[in-house]
């Protein structure tokens, strides 16, 4: 119970620290913040109004507390040009990013798990070596280069799939999924080597354990040993890394979203930077970091549920 309280305190502390940094992101802008934020639309009246609204004549800590109060009541500020509420814009973009993240993890794990298991089982074979070289090659490729390559082949030359042109889910599942194929594959191919190498090395460790020798001695077929006995104890760290990656993609799909014109949170971030919407940028950074922390927390929970050792400890 005390440990649980401590970890909650840790999360709250981290969230506060993240909020301070997000706040400073705008507060520390060089020069007159209000002029910088309004940019082209800066008239003396509007600058004065924004200064008033942001409380720029107040000391920094008071401004932070006021800002934090707004944030906690769901007010992340408004876009300067369109006047839309930042949180509403982010939330309208969130489903696209979430779909992208989920599909990417499914594809990445779908490729990495069979190859990882097999190459651990056939450690040192030519298949294993080829897999590892392939992994290093994929690790050396930026996702956007994979994306360019896929666009060139499948969208421009073969014309099988659209490069851009996002269709919302409610306007047709098929068309929606079609638009996700290339971005998902681009992102997944970058994550495959990470998952594969991790699973392979854990699996090699597990396969040397006594209970595997026992299962083998009992004459269980290989595939059952691999999938039923060896996989679960070998996937604990994989779960953590998948969790971290999902969190990272909350904002980390930026380049791919931009490339394939997917209207997600990452694309919003880039656009807000292009348009120098500093307040919008601040809101997105805060939102994405918060999601990142929450997803990491959930990952720890899932880890505890799957890890048999932790289960026994938590049983009392």
């Amino acid at each position: 119970m005390r440990r649980w309280l401590w970890s909650v305190a840790g999360v709250v502390g981290t969230l506060l620290a993240v909020s301070v940094i997000s706040f400073l992101l705008v507060a520390l802008l060089p020069g007159d913040v209000a002029v910088l934020i309004l940019a082209d639309s800066a008239t003396p009246e509007r600058v004065a109004a924004l200064r008033e609204q942001m409380g720029l004549d107040q000391p920094l800590h008071i401004r932070y507390l006021q800002w934090l109060g707004n944030v906690l009541s769901g007010d992340l500020g408004r876009a300067i040009h369109s006047g839309e509420a930042t949180l509403d814009v982010i939330l309208s973009r969130l489903p696209v990013t979430l779909e992208l993240i989920l599909l990417t993890q499914i594809v990445a794990l779908g490729v990495a798990m069979p190859f990882g298991i097999w190459s651990a089982y056939r450690r040192g074979s030519s298949i294993d070596t080829a897999t590892l070289v392939g992994c290093l090659a994929l690790l050396s490729t930026p996702a956007f280069v994979v994306g360019l390559f896929l666009i060139y082949i499948f969208a421009l030359n073969l014309q099988w799939l659209p490069a851009t042109g996002f269709v919302p889910l409610h306007e047709g599942v098929g068309a929606n999924l079609q638009g996700f194929v290339l971005p998902v594959v681009s992102l997944a191919l970058i994550e495959v080597p990470v998952y594969l190498r991790l699973l392979r090395s854990e699996m090699i460790g597990t396969l040397q354990q006594n209970f595997i020798a026992l299962a083998r001695g009992m004459g269980l077929p290989t595939w059952r040993i691999l999938l039923e006995n060896a996989l679960r104890p070998s996937s604990l760290n994989l779960i953590t890394v998948v969790g971290i990656n999902m969190g990272r993609l909350m904002g980390g799909a930026i380049i791919i979203e931009q490339m394939f014109a997917l209207p997600g949170v990452g694309q919003l971030l880039v656009q807000s930077i292009y348009q120098q919407e500093y307040l919008m940028t601040q809101g997105i950074v805060l939102f994405v970091a918060t999601m990142f922390i929450i997803i990491n927390l959930l990952t720890d929970l899932v880890y505890a549920l799957v890890d048999p050792r932790l289960q026994r400890d938590g049983g009392h």
Partner: protein, 271 residues
């Protein structure tokens, strides 16, 4: 001494070649990377123009080599920032323990609470000198990882006899760190150097693809690909030659980096 595998030797040779070409770019008989020529628009690769020309008739080979200058400036600079600051913080935390260790670890966790790319982009969005911003932003994102590694190794070495002996002999903290700990830590940290450089080249390409690295007319690899994307069908060479060079270089860095790490691990294992 174990022999170096062939792929590692080839990778090293490739890296030396690229490094020399980038360093000597100004003196090599290459076209001006910014010189436009309407006659050569999207010209295919030829003997005289190895990688062809882009949509403004600029020489793609020359632009790629010049693009690598930014890549390397960013990745070496950022790796240096990360190693120096991360190393110093890690040693402080691991050697002095107590409240300084707690503060440093809290700081590390705060930086790690942001998705790295988002943090980098947020910092790069600041007004200011582009190259410096990118180097610092990337370097700051490296610091937590390096700090953790440096701290873990400092803890390890601090328990060894030579440190205890030095302390018993009355050596001051500063001298002990410089004379005894640093010589042992530097090799460990340097193994990360090549891998951080590889990550840096990748990250710079991504940032410049988004137009958030050094602005044109200075050629950068990502921005070259982004601006020629629309002509991919007529002139794939303008995208895929720079992309291929980028890939080969990062691949070589990773191969050499992993080999160096393996060797250091082996040495630590046998020592």
């Amino acid at each position: 001494m174990r022999r170096y595998p062939l792929p590692v030797v080839v990778s090293l040779a490739w890296l030396v070649l690229v490094a020399l070409a980038t360093l000597l770019a100004a003196w090599l008989p290459m076209q001006d990377p910014t010189k436009q020529s309407l006659l050569n628009m999207l010209a295919p690769p030829s003997l005289e123009r190895w990688f062809g020309a882009d949509s403004l008739g600029r020489d793609v080979f020359s632009r790629t080599i010049h693009g690598f200058r930014i890549s390397f400036a960013v990745s070496f600079g950022a790796a240096a920032v990360g190693l120096v600051f991360g190393g110093a913080l890690g040693i402080c935390a691991g050697y002095f323990r107590g409240w300084s260790e707690r503060m440093i670890l809290i700081g590390v966790n705060i930086v790690l609470a942001f998705p790295p790319l988002v943090l980098i982009i947020a910092m790069v969005a600041y007004p200011g000198e582009a190259l410096l911003k990118v180097v610092l932003a990337l370097g700051i994102v490296y610091i937590p990882t390096v700090t953790r590694v440096a701290r873990a190794n400092t803890l390890l070495f601090s328990e060894k006899e030579f440190v205890t002996a030095a302390r018993a002999a009355g050596m001051s903290d500063a001298r002990l760190i410089v004379r005894e700990l640093l010589p042992n830590l530097v090799p460990v940290l340097l193994t990360y150097f090549l891998l951080l450089v590889a990550v840096g080249v990748l990250a710079e390409a991504g940032l410049s693809y988004l137009g958030l690295s050094v602005p044109p007319p200075v050629p950068t690899l990502g921005q070259m690909m982004a601006s020629e994307q629309a002509n991919a069908l007529e002139a794939p060479h303008a995208i895929f030659f720079p992309a291929g060079m980028l890939f080969l270089t990062i691949f070589a860095l990773n191969l050499v980096g992993e080999e160096v790490q393996r060797r250091i691990d082996d040495r630590a294992g046998t020592a």
